[in-house]
Amino acid sequence: MTAVLEVSNIKKSFGGIKAVDGVSFDVQEGEILGLIGPNGCGKSTLFNCILGQLTPTDGEVKVDGKVVTGLRPSELNRLGVSRTFQLLQVFPKLSVRENLILAGQEHQGNMVSRLFGPSDAGLTAAADQIIGFFKLDHLATETAGGLSYGQQKLLDAAMAFMGGPRLVLLDEPAGGVNLTMLGDLKERLAAINREKRATFVVIEHNMEFVMSLCTRVMVMAEGRLLAMGTPGEVRANPAVIEAYLGH
């Protein structure tokens, strides 16, 4: 097994507040790593530091053994790292299909070849495949803004897979999604992980979702790593129970 993502000693402070205070971990190829912790413990800040949306105060991030700290999010994405967002981030005025084509087009050729190439960057078939995979078929030509919250959440996840990423960071994919759709989403993620050997890191508050999907779970509290282990180990860890439930 090789490490797809290596995070070493990431720190991020905002003024005097240490949002992330020296976190290190590795993610192996094909793994689904869950990242849990109470609100405000630094999970999303850690994501943003890994993805180049924020510059870490200290520390280093490697993807496939290559140092990527300081790269812009767009450059990181073209190296095969994609993400979903905690809050909805689709393009409301574009259709579902257009959203997906947009999500994949920058991985095709270069700026010049895209300008003179086909209007869909040759991605209609690939987009429709993902649309089918996420069971959004009947919505392909609808504008994304008209979809229900759960459907937009599914589209948001689908967009992260258009470029054929090696590593996907999902920030609360289950938030606000109803139970039926949640089951679908989990099953789809597991299928992509199996078939494409895509590696995931998932922030999620829904314990049932995390414990059943993830192969390993990492717990953060107050900007630090509190525990790491299989779902069973983490569930039984007294420090985790205390961080979540108090005394």
Binding site: L51, S74, L94, L102, Q105, M159, M162, G163
Partner: protein, 332 residues
Amino acid sequence: MTAIGKYWRIALGVAVIAALIIVPMNFNRYGLYILSQWAVMTIAAMGLNLTLGYAGQVSLAQGAFVGIGAYAAAIMTTQGMPLIVALGVAIVLCFAIGWILGYPALRVQHHYLAFVTLAFSTLAFLVFRNEDWLTKGIYGISNIPRPNVLGFATNRPLPFYYFCLGSLGIVSLVMWWLIRSPWGRAFVALRENPVRALSLGIDTRRYTLMAFAIGSALGGVAGTLYAPLTQYIDPVPFNLSLSLDLLMMVIVGGSGFFFGPFLGAMIAVLLPEWLRFTQGYYLMLYAVAVMLLLIYSPTGILGILDRYLTERRTKAASALRAVAKSRLETAP
């Protein structure tokens, strides 16, 4: 869109183009001048529509680029160079300056960006006015020749109008193709959600600069037509109010709609002329009309049409759902 809707739209397009070619044949000199001005301003507004309407970057400098194009054309053609060379120079010059002007947009947005571009607009005006050696300052440049196009002289108003209309046609085709290309999609992404765009590998920095550069280059194209249209230029038409006029054309027509600039330029260039019969009141009436329109539809004229079409689609969809539901309920 249904197939019938598509044929209707093609028919409407053909009818409008035919009307633009045939109807002006009987127009007098002034009518043709106004129509040519409409075509020229539409080109400039299309450029701003790309920067502002599609890519979401505010600019109050489009008038300055029209000025740069006009001065390039005036200076070069009065020296005996052909207009096509001036056009090339204007496009390259405006593209480069527009690219540089895009850099502030990487740091500031909205009103702040508007102020940066406004400062540039003022700077350009001062150069036109004060650099006498190049622009002849407040005296302006006169006797700007009209070009020969494919062997035809365009000195008379009607051929020159066709020249402007043809240029508008070419620019429209290029623009249509551009906004339907992956670039057009990336520009919209820039407007709608730059953070998400960045996480999808879209180099938002390069696309922002590109939106400014291409939009500005179209301003330059409009300028190279403006100079031989009026045959005399001085700095005054290219002051801030032209930039504001162009901004108004984009917003009144419908920002981010392909045909917005055509309608916006029509309102801005033709409506004051149609209101002239009211004599002293025409500019006041014009101002009131624009205000009322924007209160009724903040998204411009095409915003009204868009709202109507969306409502109709939603109604059709809910009707379909109601039918499906009643069938389910009555099913045995």
